[in-house]
Structures are given as structure tokens and as C-alpha cells.
């Protein structure tokens, strides 16, 4: 009751001692900040927290605030909520949800709150694993009626302090009528996986110059084993070639130990070559020859040094059927080495992820390859999310021998890189060298990006291209409008589609 009285008095004392806040801050005033006072906002559901934070920047609407109050009280029935709106000198409004504990005994949501706690224990973990402060707070429950809120907080703290355990709270009858025992039971979780599956990157995309294409991979499996059927239909987003075909990948991320895993992928793709690419190859005999069906078998063994750092090694055995029927097929067999680092940090509303990869592919005669070449690529992506704010920075670079087959050549200018350019206008046959960087900032579903990069063949001149534009995201759907900057021909490039994978890395 005291808290309710406090809330009432707080609401009564408005900025200008106004009796009614609605009269002070009119509907339509832009909200500059929204917060919760008297209650830890992190204890509200993520959806409700999101909706409270989403008030910022929107016009004030009392009805919407009332709905949020109702949702707070619905989620926390032992609490009462009220809202206070304050008009700042800059003409914007601050919204404060004040939450207090309800004094009404009948509103208790657990009938056992009337019983006295005679003992409070933690089972399943050694005492030295539990922070002393937490133990002290646990013992403070004893001798008083059960405080469900306090118990909830302790349970959440245990989860935070001991992330390797599942925490379950049980209440038992005590030694005599009216007494209860509170026990937090900790169960050690199964060891987390160290190796990641190959990132899925299902997409259906449209590029205004390159038209529709799709790559669909569907992961079927569980924690340690996964099968992934692959279907590509006119996919031209990654390579010089636009390919159609299918494949199958099998992966295990536990061979005796969670540090060791393996994968085996088989694909068969039929490339479609754009006239510009065919013309470029005809004009430059130093470029590799075009091919028809490309069948590849890729066995890999993976080892995790830590959950973040893994290495993979294996071979890629590719048979390239010739375009001309009279000639024989070529083998492009390469040893593969991949070093991968992937780490996420989550702290409250902020989430960060760093992905990086260094990859070497070496086509060698010792693997019966007809093509001897080397290809190096490095890429990194850093993503920072804070509430509605999203920022991504990406960098890539690569070099390949001029003898590398077409599927090893680099391209830029598609739905993910150099948005605003068409890759067939930049380098119709791709390039053996590539550098690229991109930054993107987004608020909610709208973003702005700046891409810059170059793809070229040595010894020809390197030319940097820059593009900027807007991006729109709604779940897996996206649309971008990109404009090339350092060109006389300012033509917008539009792309859209669905992209379900979440990795920012490309190859």
C-alpha cells in the first residue's frame, strides 16, 4: 500500500504541479527517452522490454502507454505500474514507467508465500563454485515468509553466475506445519558444442542487372550430425558463373570428442556463362577456360582449439566438363586449409559478433590436378547490435594464381558486395585479386551503407569503386538501392529477396 501511495504521490507531483500529466504532455509529442523506475527492466519479457524501448522517437500516445502499463501488470501481477510523462525544455517528452510492489496480500501469486522458510539450500554444485554474496542472500531467505520475487532474483543470479548449470527451484514442506524449505537444484548442462556447422545461406535474390537467382540449403539433423540437401537455381551471387544444380553435405561435429568433426560435400552444378564473360575470355587468352558441368567432392576434417577458434583441412576434388565436346574434362583438385574465428558477446541489450576466416586452396599435381594454382582469401566481419541500432563492418581480401579455374576467381558487385555496381560491368571474368570493405548502419529495419572495393587481374591497373545506398530489412526479407559513386554513369542498382542465413562472411 505504501508503494501505491508513493506512486500516486509521484504522479500527482508533475513538472508544473499539474494535476493531470495528459494535459501537460500532449499526444503527438516526440518521446526522447523511455525507462522503467522501481523495477529491474531486465526482469520483464524481451518482447515487453523491446516495446518499451521502441517508444523512443515515436509520437506520444497515451493509449499506447496504458497498454504497456497493463502488460507490465499482467507480467508482474504482484506489482502495480503507472506512467509519468515529462516535457523537456526541447519540446520532447520523457516517459517513465514507475513500478512498485502491490501491498495487497490477496494479490499474492503464490499461496506458499504465507509460509516461513526454515531452510534454503543449493544442491548439485560445490560450495566453492557459488559466490559468497549469493550464498549470503540465499541464507537471508530463512526465517521469513517466502518472498517469491527474492527467490526469482536468486534463481536468475544463479543462472548468470553458473552458466554451465540448469537451475530449478523447488519448494518442499518443512519439518513442521507452516514451514517450507527452498531448494535450488543445479544440473550440469551437456557440454556445449565447439565446432560449428557450415553456415547455411539459403536465399532467393533479385539483382536489377543480374536478375533472379536462388541457393537453397536445408539443414536436417540434430546437435552432432546434420545432412544438408543443396539446390541452386541460376545462382549468380557469388561466382562469375551463374550455376544451377544440386548437392548434399553431411557433417558431424563430434568424432569421439567435441573438438573433432568432419564434413563431406558433393555438388554438381551446370554453369551458365554471360555473353560478357564469354567475350572477355575470347579477348584474353591468359584467362582460364570456361567449362560445362562442375562436379565437386569436398571431404574436410575440422578441429576446434577453443569454441571460437577452429581449423579445417581437406581436399576439393573438382571435375570440370569441357564446353567443347571433343576435348576432355579437367580436374581441379586442391588441398584446402581454413582457419576460422567466431565469437559472440552478449551484454544486456548489446550484442556483438566477430567472424573471421582465412582460407587457402592449393591446386597441385600431387592430387592429380590438371590445374596448378594457389588461392588465398581472408575475410572478417564485426557486427554490433544495440536495441534497434545495428552496425556491421566487413573487410575481405584475396589473391589467386592466374591459372586458377573460374570458380576460384573473385567477384564484386552483387546483392552483398559493392551494391550499386554490376559485377559483369566491373570485371566480366572476375579477377585474381580482390580487396573490399563495407560499413553499414541500420536503425530498426532501415540502413545506410558504404561499400568500397576493387577486383582486378595483375598486371592491369587496379581501380577502386565506391557505392552507397539504403537497405531495408524485415526478417529474412531485404531490399537495397545502391548508387555507384565514382562514375559518370549514376544508375541505381536495386536488389531484393529473402536471405535466411545469418553469417556475414561470403565464401
Amino acid at each position: 500500500m505504501r508503494m501505491i501511495a508513493l506512486l500516486v504521490s509521484l504522479l500527482a507531483i508533475g513538472p508544473q504541479s499539474a494535476p493531470d500529466q495528459r494535459a501537460v504532455v500532449p499526444d503527438g509529442t516526440t518521446i526522447s527517452a523511455a525507462s522503467v523506475s522501481g523495477f529491474d527492466i531486465d526482469r520483464l519479457s524481451p518482447g515487453l522490454r523491446h516495446d518499451i524501448h521502441a517508444l523512443v522517437g515515436t509520437p506520444l500516445k497515451q493509449e499506447r502507454l496504458d497498454q504497456l502499463i497493463a502488460r507490465i501488470e499482467e507480467e508482474r501481477p504482484r506489482h502495480v505500474a503507472a506512467v509519468r510523462t515529462v516535457l523537456d525544455p526541447d519540446g520532447r517528452a520523457r516517459v517513465v514507467f514507475m513500478v512498485g510492489e502491490r501491498g495487497d496480500e490477496t494479490a499474492r501469486d503464490n499461496v506458499n508465500s504465507r509460509y516461513i522458510v526454515e531452510a534454503a539450500n543449493i544442491n548439485g554444485a560445490a560450495d566453492d563454485e557459488i559466490p559468497k554474496g549469493l550464498l549470503d542472500d540465499l541464507h537471508a531467505l530463512v526465517g521469513k515468509p517466502l518472498d517469491s520475487d527474492q527467490s526469482d532474483r536468486l534463481q536468475e543470479r544463479l543462472r548468470d553466475e553458473l552458466p554451465r548449470y540448469d537451475v530449478r527451484r523447488r519448494i518442499y514442506r518443512g519439518s513442521e506445519q507452516g514451514r517450507i524449505r527452498v531448494v535450488f537444484e543445479l544440473t550440469r548442462r551437456g557440454a556445449p558444442t565447439w565446432l560449428r556447422y557450415e553456415p547455411l545461406r539459403a536465399n532467393v535474390v533479385f539483382h536489377s542487372d543480374q536478375k533472379w537467382g536462388s541457393y537453397l540449403d536445408l539443414g536436417i539433423g540434430g546437435r552432432d550430425i546434420r545432412f544438408t540437401p543443396i539446390l541452386a537455381i541460376a545462382d549468380g551471387d557469388d561466382l562469375v558463373e551463374e550455376y544451377t544444380g544440386w548437392g548434399l553435405r553431411f557433417e558431424t561435429r563430434r568424432i569421439g570428442t567435441r573438438r573433432l568433426g568432419a564434413s563431406l560435400e558433393w555438388t554438381s552444378f551446370d554453369p551458365d556463362w554471360r555473353p560478357r564473360t564469354v567475350d572477355a575470355v575470347a579477348a584474353d587468352p591468359s584467362l582460364p577456360s570456361l567449362y560445362d558441368t562442375r562436379s565437386t567432392l569436398t571431404p574436410l576434417v575440422k578441429f576446434a582449439f577453443t569454441p571460437e577458434l577452429t581449423i579445417a583441412a581437406g581436399v576439393g576434388i573438382s571435375e570440370l566438363d569441357p564446353l567443347a565436346p571433343a576435348t576432355s574434362s579437367q580436374m581441379a583438385n586442391a588441398a584446402i586449409g581454413v582457419l576460422d574465428f567466431d565469437k559472440r558477446w552478449d551484454a544486456g541489450r548489446a550484442a556483438q559478433r566477430l567472424e573471421s576466416e582465412f582460407r587457402v586452396r592449393s591446386g597441385t599435381r600431387t592430387l592429380e590436378s590438371d590445374l596448378a594454382y594457389k588461392r588465398y582469401s581472408a575475410q572478417a566481419s564485426y557486427a554490433y547490435d544495440y536495441g534497434h541500432h545495428h552496425a556491421v563492418a566487413t573487410a575481405m581480401g584475396g589473391a589467386a594464381s592466374s591459372t586458377a579455374p573460374f570458380f576460384e576467381r573473385f567477384t564484386l558487385g552483387d546483392t552483398r558486395t559493392l551494391r550499386g555496381w554490376d559485377k559483369y560491368a566491373i570485371a566480366p571474368a572476375g579477377g585474381s585479386r580482390m580487396v573490399y570493405a563495407s560499413v553499414e548502419y541500420g536503425y530498426s529495419g532501415v540502413g545506410v551503407f558504404l561499400d568500397m572495393g576493387s577486383v582486378w587481374d595483375q598486371p592491369s591497373d587496379r581501380r577502386f569503386r565506391v557505392s552507397t545506398g539504403l537497405s531495408f530489412h524485415a526478417g529474412p526479407a531485404f531490399a537495397t538501392v545502391g548508387f555507384p559513386l565514382n562514375t559518370d554513369n549514376l544508375t541505381a542498382v536495386f536488389s531484393m529477396g529473402l536471405r535466411i542465413g545469418e553469417t556475414k562472411l561470403r565464401w
Binding site: 501488470e73 499461496v111 519448494i171 553456415p199 547455411l200
Partner: protein, 193 residues
Amino acid sequence: MVTSRAALALVACLLSVPAASAQTIAIVPAPSVVRVRATGWAFLTAEPLARLKEGQTVRVELAVGVLAAPGRSAVTTLRRIFSVSYDLWEERFAVTVAEPRGGSASHLTAAAAEAWCLEQLAVPRASLRSLDELPGARFWIRLECRILDGDGALDPDESAGLTLQRLIDVFSRRRKSEPPARILEGGPFQLPR
């Protein structure tokens, strides 16, 4: 032989009828509201019941929808969240409506607690006026029950990309964070004029 087989099949069918019709909805019209009764529709069972007996509070969302035809969207819906707990010493249930001025009841058996929750979802007769325009003014009732467990977080590694589990969730229109609902429909009902 054929006759005896047919008889056996008939007996089997007859035996299965009570099981299939064990869950039924009835309405109790009052001057200003229509109360809903559900026979055999228990939601304080299995895992929620186990949690209650461990002294935990279980939040239950119940909704009563009034439909113009079976399977159709509701003309009007009443929805409330209840906090249910189990008195470890008295071995009885207590229920609180999770609203600022929501009522509460205690010393209830499981069936009585379930019935009390439904009692709090009496449909105002005023909200049924639009049904008067329908032929025969018949309507159906849909009950929905959802045990609220909070938001289930996805393992970030498992959530990436297109997986079979994700497709199943999408096509069944189920969000990972949304617990499945138990639904019971009954009717047709007609209010006395």
C-alpha cells in the same frame, strides 16, 4: 462371422464415443453474461501440475472466443492470465487473476481451480448482439489455454539458416517463444430470447 465382426466394430465405435466426447462445452446464460463450462477439459495436468507441486507458480492464459461458425475466427474474445499455485501444506490450489483488481480464490481442487478460471471469463451478453443478425442466432465457443513459460531463447548456432525444424515452426505458424495452445470448440448454442 461377418455379423459378429460388425457387432464387434459397432461395440468398439460405441466405446470410443464417450472418449471422444469426454470434453464438452456447455453454456450457462445469466441475465447479463453467458458463463462457459467445460467438462473434462483439464489444464492443470502433466508438466504444469508437476511444477505446481514443486511449489512454483504457473501462469495460465485462458481465452474464450465466440464464433459464428465452427473453425471461424472469433466474433468476440475474452482473454485473461491466471497465476496458479499449490499449497504444499493444505494440498489445495490457489488462483489469482493477473490484473490489478483481479480476484483470487484458494483451497480449491484442481478441477475447481480450472472451473473458477473459466468463471472469470463470463462473456457479456452485450458483446453477443452482433450474433442476433445470424440465422437462428446460433454460435460456437472456442476455449484456448496456454501455459506461459516465458520466452524461450534459441541457441544462436541452431537458429542460423534454414533448418527443417525452422520450416516446421514456420508452416505450423508457431513461434519458438510461444507455447502451444490447447483448444476446445463446442456448439452450436442458442440463447433464450
